[in-house]
Chain length 225, copies 2
DNA sequence: ATTGTCCTTATCCGATTGGATTATAGTTAT
DNA sequence: ATAACTATAATCCAATCGGATAAGGACAAT
């Protein structure tokens, strides 16, 4: 049973080359070809249920209605259809918008035609959306650098889970980071200089660091305070 | 020039097989092997700057200190080192935590050894973190299903510095903040230890501070870097 | 009752830092 | 062209820091 495919791209040459590669592979059947988002949605309306494509390969920059808008509309109207972006653009903004619109995969056109058909086929076998390696890494960075909250999960509990400093040690770390001398830490907490120092050494051991500067780096970057 | 690699896994057989595959590939040099997070951080401390691994292959479930904690600590202490998860776990929670901790890539152990070495090599050539296809799709779903906010830089007008450090001084401040010794700063910039020190003293005078810790505070809080 | 953890104090020692000072060469400004 | 600034380099010295080690008391958990 071949995989039913739709192709949406404003450049005729792209459409033809891609269609060629897909049919040559043998496992794909191109059901629909459109040259922009509007065209795509109109042609989709004219299809019967069993003619609906399983996968839509969607370019992004197109006249009339661009790929993001088409995906947003299409993924609502046809929930069973997988929308896979196929474009030359790899900037974070477009990736993000396409995913949010409901993209199931994201492939780059500089991928070889063989790789593209392979990844589409693999998608069919594994059920996972096809994603070009470079794009995958950019998505990872999106997660890394942004405020993403795991639904249902308490979302990132750094100080408890990673390093278990005692309350006293956190207190001393806070002062240490402010640049106080052992002497000053002791004075502030009414303990001896030596005690303050002992705490600091213990903190270093727990954090696996061996200088104040490294401890400060961890404290700042992992929010230990 | 071979890629310097570290392996962290609690199972000896995993470590050995992986090391074998890597050295056989020819482009990798295994610098460090550890059996858990704690062991890893300790051994890292004993390495010189030029012995630091470029890539750390990190298992997730380990005794003493798990991979997420090790990545969290390690990515702060060694910003230049890339941490790549290599595990059998593919549940969203672990993926999410690992990425948030600073993972640069995420590979599954059911990948063939050839694929793993290939992806590592490709990482070296493209600069993008290696990610197993199935994992890439799950990350995409993370973005799709959660509240992610695109943060462009909040601009944060860089105050044109009340403290006008020279370019050289900013350069040295950056290294100073990373916790390098005068000796190491000198080596990195090809100047003498004494010169490095002299610059640091000048910086302190301009910032009106008199310790590394205080300078770090200013640097972090005023965004001098 | 005993183990374990945390907080406290202390000493010794080598390594590192911070301060003061001097000096030369290259660049920029006026 | 001359002054001012910057980057480079060195030495001396006192203070501080990091590491190892020891040990007593408080308190909780078993």
């Amino acid at each position: 049973m071949p995989i039913r495919i739709a192709i949406v791209d404003d450049r005729a040459s792209n459409r033809n080359i891609l269609k060629d590669k897909l049919v040559r592979h043998g496992h794909f059947k191109v059901m629909l070809i459109a040259e922009d988002g509007k065209d795509f949605l109109q042609k989709m309306q004219q299809l019967d249920q069993e003619e609906l494509p399983a996968v839509v390969l969607m370019d992004l920059e197109m006249p009339n209605m661009d790929g993001v808008a088409a995906i947003a509309a299409g993924s609502s109207l046809y929930p069973s259809v997988k929308f896979v972006v196929l474009t030359i653009f790899d900037d974070e903004d477009k990736i993000f918008k396409a995913i949010k619109a409901g993209a199931f995969g994201y492939l780059l056109k500089d991928e070889s035609a063989e790789d593209i058909t392979d990844m589409l086929w693999q998608m069919y076998e594994s059920g996972a959306g096809p994603i070009s390696p470079g794009i995958a890494f950019k998505i990872l960075q999106l997660v890394q650098n942004n405020n993403l909250t795991m639904v249902g999960k308490p979302a990132y509990v750094p100080q408890k889970s990673f390093f278990d400093l005692t309350e006293r040690e956190k207190e001393i770390l806070a002062l240490l980071v402010q640049g106080l001398l052992y002497k000053e830490i002791g004075a502030k907490l009414n303990i001896s200089t030596n005690t303050a120092k002992k705490h600091v050494i213990n903190i270093y051991n727990k954090l696996h660091v061996n200088s104040r500067a490294q401890a400060m780096n961890l404290a700042y970057e992992k929010g230990l305070l």
